[in-house]
């Protein structure tokens, strides 16, 4: 196993902090905005408390790789090069945003940054990731794609079809199940009769591995191994990241159905706290450094908000355009 360098460790820390700050900010706006004149259209869907899964996984990719993100993957999107400005344009439904202000919040894609266009239908993008993977092979590119989905999404037939299919064709896909124990109000125990989603890997004929989804370095190492296997032609892997959805399903949901004990026990496993401890242990950073990063990402997010807020709203003039490509 390859050790992360100090620079990488610190970079991961920054991504963790940036994602947290951005999503705290989205939460704050949703809670305080005027419902008659909202800045954020709709609700926020956040990864707060489970950021390490998305970040650790996407950090294992190289430039030519792709992701099919799910709805709690702002960390991965930032790593792919989407900026806080772009992500806020999307939340504010602005004309210059990734979906031209037509769609909002987590429903976005960015072909230039190798990010597929997410839709609400859970798990729907997993077979689409297979298509990208197939095309990579077809074009003899040494690349792969990560397909993210939740524990709830894992119950969709199409996700099973896609995993079997990828194994049959030995496609360079890594399936990342972010198992955060909940699907809206439905707990894991009502979602599946098995303990580990990863156990399904064997039934498709691919490795199924489990990692601690709150330890960013562990997610990274696990996914990196799968990415290398995929790029060598070894086919797909199913990686299950065990984590916990620490807030409501969306910013509107107070999640009263989750017990205080469950939240309290997972609070102790907060991915940022964990990473700070690790950085201190390795002698890479201290409290002063953490404070500096926290302040930096905070001002980055605030600056991005001020900027994005003032961008143009979409207009009805070109509303009918783009249903079809013109050429």
């Amino acid at each position: 196993m390859e050790q992360l360098t100090k620079k990488q460790h610190l970079e991961l820390y920054r991504y963790l902090r940036l994602t947290r700050a951005l999503e705290d900010w989205i939460f704050y706006i949703c809670a305080n905005q005027n419902p008659q004149k909202p800045l954020i259209i709709g609700k926020g869907y956040l990864s707060t408390g489970q950021e390490a899964t998305s970040i650790g996984a996407a950090y294992a990719l190289e430039k030519e790789d792709w992701i099919a993100q799910s709805h709690r993957d702002f960390g991965a999107l930032l790593i792919r090069g989407l900026t806080p400005r772009e992500l806020l344009l999307q939340y504010f439904s602005k004309e210059t945003g990734p979906t031209k202000g037509r769609d909002a919040n987590v429903h976005l894609g960015h072909t230039g940054k190798h990010v597929l266009g997410f839709i609400s239908h859970m798990g729907a993008m997993v077979p689409v990731a297979n298509g990208v993977a197939f095309a990579m092979k077809y074009k003899k590119k040494k690349a792969c794609i990560l397909a993210f989905f939740g524990d709830g999404a894992s119950s969709q037939g199409i996700v099973h079809e896609a995993m079997n299919y990828a194994a049959v064709f030995k496609l360079p896909v890594v399936f990342i199940c972010n198992n955060n124990r909940w699907a809206i109000s439905t707990p894991l125990e009502e979602q599946m009769a098995i303990k580990n989603v990863a156990d399904r890997g064997a039934s498709y004929g691919m490795p199924g591995v489990i990692c601690d989804g709150n330890k960013v370095e562990e997610v990274y190492q696990t996914v990196l191994k799968a990415v290398r296997l995929a790029k060598k032609g070894g086919g797909p892997t199913l990686v299950e990241c065990k984590t916990m959805r620490m807030s409501g399903h969306g910013t509107h949901d107070r999640a009263k159905y989750v017990s205080d004990q469950e939240i309290a026990s997972w609070k102790k496993k907060d991915p940022i706290m964990h990473h700070e401890k690790l950085l201190k242990k390795l002698g890479y950073a201290d409290e002063a450094y953490f404070k500096k990063i926290i302040a930096e990402v905070k001002s980055e997010v605030e600056e991005a908000t001020q900027w994005a807020k003032n961008q143009a709203d979409p207009s009805i003039q070109n509303q009918l355009e783009d249903v079809f490509a013109r050429s």
Binding site: S185, E190, Q191, D313
Partner: protein, 325 residues
């Protein structure tokens, strides 16, 4: 005795009373149990009827509708909830291939009522706002109900559950807590396939269903001041639909506007237009006007969504235009 109930609460009352009436009626779907569904429609039913009759499922619409079919064949009366009608797309084969054809092919009744919230104007985008009813009207073997009042929602849901055929019950999610009207406490039914005249008028028949009914009534009130009388007909059930009521109204007005929230092109309104052309030609004095949504995916942005949807102004313009004939 009757009292004022929200649309959502009227639906819950129908579910409760049907479950009391018939031990084979049961509810299942994503988050419907303790949580009461994402719109709170099944709230408290879990406490009342227990986990056997009000059950959470995995996130698996295909398996949900598959279960409904099997359980109905075996003699139960399933009432599955699909969290948003948009997600029916992941269960099209059980719905369209099996459920809709079963009685015709095998001869066994399938008393299934699929409850699915439908419709937009809530700024929740393409994947949570669509109006897909035309697909299902186009599928022989499914009845399709779209209630617009609390009173109708209760009575039509009772009829749907008692019906021995698959019924797609498209709840108007915008109306859940926006609309409140008088609902009798006791159980009652409203026959499927009966339209209702919401307001009488002699100049133009306006046919609609679901939440645009309120837009139509607003237009009718405004136009009345100009001396234009709309007769607003709320179809309530769109398959089968009430040809008698339409024909009678049209024979008086000779003009018609068809209004729905679904995309105009090849929407259910096209079927209605064809009905007027084919079966009521002798009464026609003016072009048949259709109002529906733009031919694009549904934008989330409020400015775009408002422009996407048919508006009050569209109705006023269409009505004024028709009066020139």
């Amino acid at each position: 005795m009757s009292r004022s109930l929200y649309y959502a609460d009227a639906i819950r009352e129908a579910l409760r009373q049907c479950m009391q009436e018939d031990g084979d009626v049961y509810i299942f779907g994503e988050d419907v149990a303790l949580y009461g569904g994402v719109f709170g429609v099944t709230k408290d039913l879990f406490h009342e009827f227990g986990p056997k009759r009000v059950r959470n499922t995995p996130l698996s619409e295909g398996a949900i509708l598959g279960e409904a079919i099997g359980a109905a064949v075996y003699g139960l009366r399933p009432v599955p909830e699909i969290q948003f009608s948009d997600f029916l797309t992941t269960a099209m084969s059980p719905l369209v291939d099996i459920m809709a054809t079963y009685h015709y092919r095998v001869g066994t009744k399938l008393p299934i009522t699929i409850r699915a919230p439908s419709g937009g104007a809530l700024r929740i985008g393409h994947f949570h706002s669509k109006c897909l009813e035309a697909w299902f009207v186009h599928t022989p073997g499914l009845k399709v109900v779209v209630p617009s009042t609390a009173y109708d929602a209760k009575g039509l849901l009772v009829s749907s559950i008692r019906d021995n055929n698959p019924v797609l019950f498209l709840e108007q999610k915008k109306l859940y807590r926006e609309i409140k009207d008088e609902v009798p406490e006791e159980i009652y039914d409203i026959p499927l396939g009966q339209a209702i005249i919401r307001t009488e008028g002699s100049h133009i028949t306006l046919v609609t269903y679901g939440s645009p009914t309120y837009l139509a009534l607003k237009a009718a009130a405004l136009l009345q001041k100009e001396g234009i009388e709309l007769e607003v007909i709320d179809l309530r059930t769109i398959y089968p639909f009430d040809k008698e009521t339409l024909k009678k109204s049209f024979s008086k007005t000779n003009r018609v506007i068809i209004l729905h929230e679904a995309v105009k092109i090849a929407g259910f309104g096209a079927e209605l237009a064809a009905f007027f052309a084919e079966e009521c030609f002798e009464y026609m004095a003016a072009p048949i006007m259709r109002l529906g949504a733009l031919h694009t995916p549904i934008p989330t942005n409020p400015v775009l969504e408002d422009h996407y949807l048919p508006s009050l102004q569209d109705i006023l313009d269409a009505a004024r235009g028709l009066m020139k004939y």
